[in-house]
């Protein structure tokens, strides 16, 4: 008889849901569909020519390092480059603060592994990055949502929640924030709000996990300092990635943390995958050394900035007046809201019939709220697809609103 495992799996697996996005993406795979659903960078953002040069040089000069295991902490060349890169961006880091990860998703996994026991409390934004929610859930965290206002996560409600937990003698493990061009909302937390949140974190002695995959991609407005750079007490753990500024296929990211936490993360990584691919690490290290990364970031900023302007233009032209949307100053996403009594998962069906796709907002809310919102990605579609796709989305939404009026 074949093995029966259903009752054998760990509790954490029994509690895990299939990713909504993953299921929906299957529906969007048809070639006639214009998809704003994925979070993919534009393939035009990949620095193919420079990459060829670097790969040739690495394979010529140092293949025995690039093809061997690396230290868990990271490849030496990449580590040196990342320290320079971090400091240049205003984050005061040394080797002691740094860990190279197999993507920023692994950063989320490792932070969870190191901090979350079953039932541990974690504060998340409403809405929040779905991959973060998934990682916390896989370690059986008990998530508490704090809504955003125009300046970012609400400091007032954060304080209320912490106060309430404190009354029961409970302390959350960390506050999870994507402060720059957030996925999914596209919003950026103001400097004042960052200061406030950090002060609250100090007051209640709670760590902050600052997930920052889009930060470099600002196409308008002024840079706001990272929360990590504002922190002088070692409370903030920052997660970064090359996925949006170089290539996601390489799966390389990094963590900055205070040395005590960083050392625990190193040990956790050792048992997770020993080390990140030396080949990818050495290539990115040499790529940065040659100054290619800065140039590539400039190129991407220009490309995405243009796409953002276009999509806003088409929104204004094609979306019904019942819809509103965020206007990001950077990144890959914006969030559309429709009247609160409507559910975007129903809209999704109409949209698919009209050959256009997005991600339903519910996926970004740990508590299943946000049903009247949807995430739109504007980095992947071509300019022509942006035009056609938003036209189709506007049409779908008008049909949907109309249909709901009749009932």
């Amino acid at each position: 008889m074949d093995i029966n495992l259903n009752e054998r799996y760990s509790h954490r697996v029994q509690g895990m849901k299939k990713s909504v996005i993953r299921e929906l993406l299957k529906l969007t795979a048809k070639p006639e569909i214009i998809s704003f659903a994925g979070g993919l960078p534009s393939p035009k953002s990949f620095p193919v020519d420079e990459l060829k040069i670097v790969i040739d040089e690495v394979m010529e000069n140092e293949p025995e390092v690039a093809l061997q295991y690396s230290a868990t902490e990271g490849d030496q060349v990449l580590v040196e480059q990342l320290i320079k890169y971090g400091n240049k961006a205003g984050n005061d880091i040394t080797e002691e603060n740094l860990l190279v990860t197999t993507s920023s998703q692994q950063g989320l996994d490792l932070v969870s592994k190191v901090f979350i026991d079953p039932g541990a409390k974690v504060i998340v934004e409403l809405p929040s990055y779905v991959g973060g929610l998934g990682a916390f859930n896989s370690y059986q965290a008990d998530m508490i949502g704090v809504p955003q206002d125009a300046d970012g996560m609400s400091a007032e409600i954060l304080r209320e929640k912490l106060e309430e937990l404190d009354k029961h003698g409970e302390k959350p493990k960390f506050i999870y924030i994507v402060p720059d061009f957030q996925n999914p909302a596209g919003m950026t937390m103001t400097e004042e709000r960052r200061e406030e949140i950090l002060e609250i974190a100090y007051e209640y002695k709670v760590l902050i996990v600052e997930d920052s995959p889009y930060r470099e991609l600002r196409f308008e407005g002024e840079d706001v300092p990272t929360i990590y750079s504002m922190d002088d007490k070692g409370y903030v753990i920052l997660l970064g990635t090359f996925s949006k500024i170089f290539a996601p296929g390489f799966r390389i990211g990094w963590i900055y943390a205070n040395p005590e936490i960083r050392n625990k993360l190193v040990v956790a990584k050792q048992s997770t995958d020993l080390c990140s691919p030396a080949f990818s690490q050495r290539i990115i290290g040499r790529f940065m050394e040659k100054g290619y990364l800065e140039k590539n970031i400039e190129k991407i900023i220009e490309m995405y900035g243009k796409k953002k302007d276009l999509i806003i233009k088409y929104f204004n032209k094609y979306m019904p007046q019942e819809a509103s949307w965020t206007e990001p100053e950077g990144g890959l996403f914006l969030l559309v809201s429709i009247p609160e009594h409507l559910d975007t998962s129903e809209l999704f069906e109409i949209a698919i019939e009209n050959n256009v796709a997005f991600v339903i907002g519910e996926a970004f809310h740990h508590d299943g709220s946000g049903k009247h919102t949807m995430r739109i990605n504007f980095s992947y579609a071509t300019e022509e697809q942006l035009h056609k796709g938003i036209k189709r989305l506007g049409k779908s939404l008008k049909e949907f609103i109309q249909a709901n009026k009749k009932e």
Partner: protein, 395 residues
């Protein structure tokens, strides 16, 4: 700041720590468990990589699916079929090294306090991966044919919290031992009677020095109980961090969900590199090269051990893989012996990290794959001097 309770159990890997000590050029190191970089197919990888970036760069640099690149999964399934496993691409998920296979297996099955059965000693990376999920370890003694079945049976009969059995049947890390075919069949029978999944870690399976390969547990299994962890680290190169899990479809979907939140997917360029290599080159001929090089080094090391080591130390005779295991007289501690050996510029890995309870101290692991061939005899001779000295001091 309070870490999760699992963090208390996690210790930095001795092996990773050792890397720092043995980096000095004057040290003859038998410590690391890494393959010989001279055998990496550098020219071929260079050619393949240029081709992929040129022809298919958009895909090689983009996000991909969690389960992995379909053409590669098909090729892996085909290789597994040639080894007697009823496999298809839908039974395979690509992992970021076999280490991730261990991590995900632990995450999939282990609640705090569940028990894992393993060989004694066993691979330290597996111990660490499992420890992250706070299980109880039940170590089963091995003889020259593998795990002792009467001991295993007794445990299976008396315990009800056992979630999985973890074994490396071919050229085990750290002992280099290989299970007999008979013992493999017995293990499959027991896993059937008690309906317990087996994690088969086959990182060294293809590096065999004898005429024939023994059947994998996976190929002997008919009930879908074996979860097979494969790796390209020893046969191709570790720097791409490529492994896979072969498992029945209903279990595979859980691995996909877990991998999604762990690292989303494995490096797609690396997957395409290996796929292209398998398509364009003779992988088996490449493995034959590795085999003949390692076999030669194994012979050199065994001969030197026989010539120089004190008779009170015993050692294994591996028929494949990368390691020899040495057992010293009871009172000796591998760590202390290592301190002495380092003074003479020779290194190895003390055995205690290969036991979950770290109780057994009088053993150590020697690696021959990455040792410089011309220095093997010299290194073993130096080590033998140290061993004789410490034994004389203690006894």
């Amino acid at each position: 700041m309070k870490f999760a309770s699992r963090v208390k159990e996690l210790k930095p890997s001795d092996i990773q720590e050792m890397f720092k000590v043995i980096a000095k050029p004057e040290v003859i190191s038998f410590a690391s468990g890494v393959p010989d970089p001279d055998l990496f197919p550098v020219k071929e990888i260079d050619e393949i990589t240029s081709k992929i970036i040129r022809q298919n760069g958009d895909m090689a640099l983009q996000y991909n699916t969690t389960e992995g690149y379909v053409p590669l999964r098909k090729k892996i399934a085909l290789r597994m079929k040639q080894n007697g496993v009823e496999s298809s691409s839908e039974n395979i998920i690509i992992t970021s090294g076999a280490q991730q296979g261990l991590e995900l297996s632990a995450k999939l099955f282990l609640n705090k306090g569940d028990a894992v059965i393993c060989e004694s000693p066993t691979y330290s990376g597996a111990i660490n991966a499992f420890k992250s999920y706070s299980p109880e370890f039940i170590q089963i003694t091995t003889d020259k044919n593998g795990m002792k079945m009467d001991e295993l049976k007794k445990v299976l009969e008396t315990r009800n919290n056992i979630k999985m059995i973890y074994v490396i049947t071919d050229f085990q890390n750290p002992t280099g031992k290989s299970w007999s075919v008979e013992r493999r069949k017995e293990l499959i029978e027991l896993s059937k009677s008690y309906d317990i999944p087996i994690i088969e870690d086959s990182a060294y399976e293809e590096i065999y020095f004898t005429d024939n390969k023994k059947p994998t547990l996976k190929s002997l299994d008919t009930g879908g109980r074996v979860i097979y962890l494969g790796s390209f680290s020893k046969t191709f190169c570790p720097g791409l961090r490529m492994g896979w899990i072969e498992v029945k479809k209903s279990i595979l979907k859980n691995y996909i969900t877990l991998k999604q939140s762990s690292d989303m997917h494995t490096n797609i360029l690396a997957q395409m590199q290996i796929d292209k290599y398998l398509e364009l080159y003779d992988f088996d001929a490449h493995i034959d090269n590795i085999i003949s090089s390692y076999k030669n080094k194994r012979d050199k090391m065994i001969n030197a051990i026989k010539k120089y080591f004190p008779s009170s130390c015993s050692h294994t005779y591996p028929e494949g893989g990368m390691f020899i295991w040495v057992v010293m007289p009871d009172k000796l501690d591998g760590r202390k012996v290592l301190d002495e050996a380092l003074k003479e510029n020779v290194a190895f890995i003390p055995g205690e990290s290969f036991y979950p309870d770290r109780e057994t101290k009088n053993t150590f692991r020697l690696n021959f794959s990455n040792a410089e061939e011309s220095k093997i005899e010299k290194g073993i001779e130096k080590l033998a001097v140290v061993l004789k000295r410490v034994i004389d001091n203690v006894y």
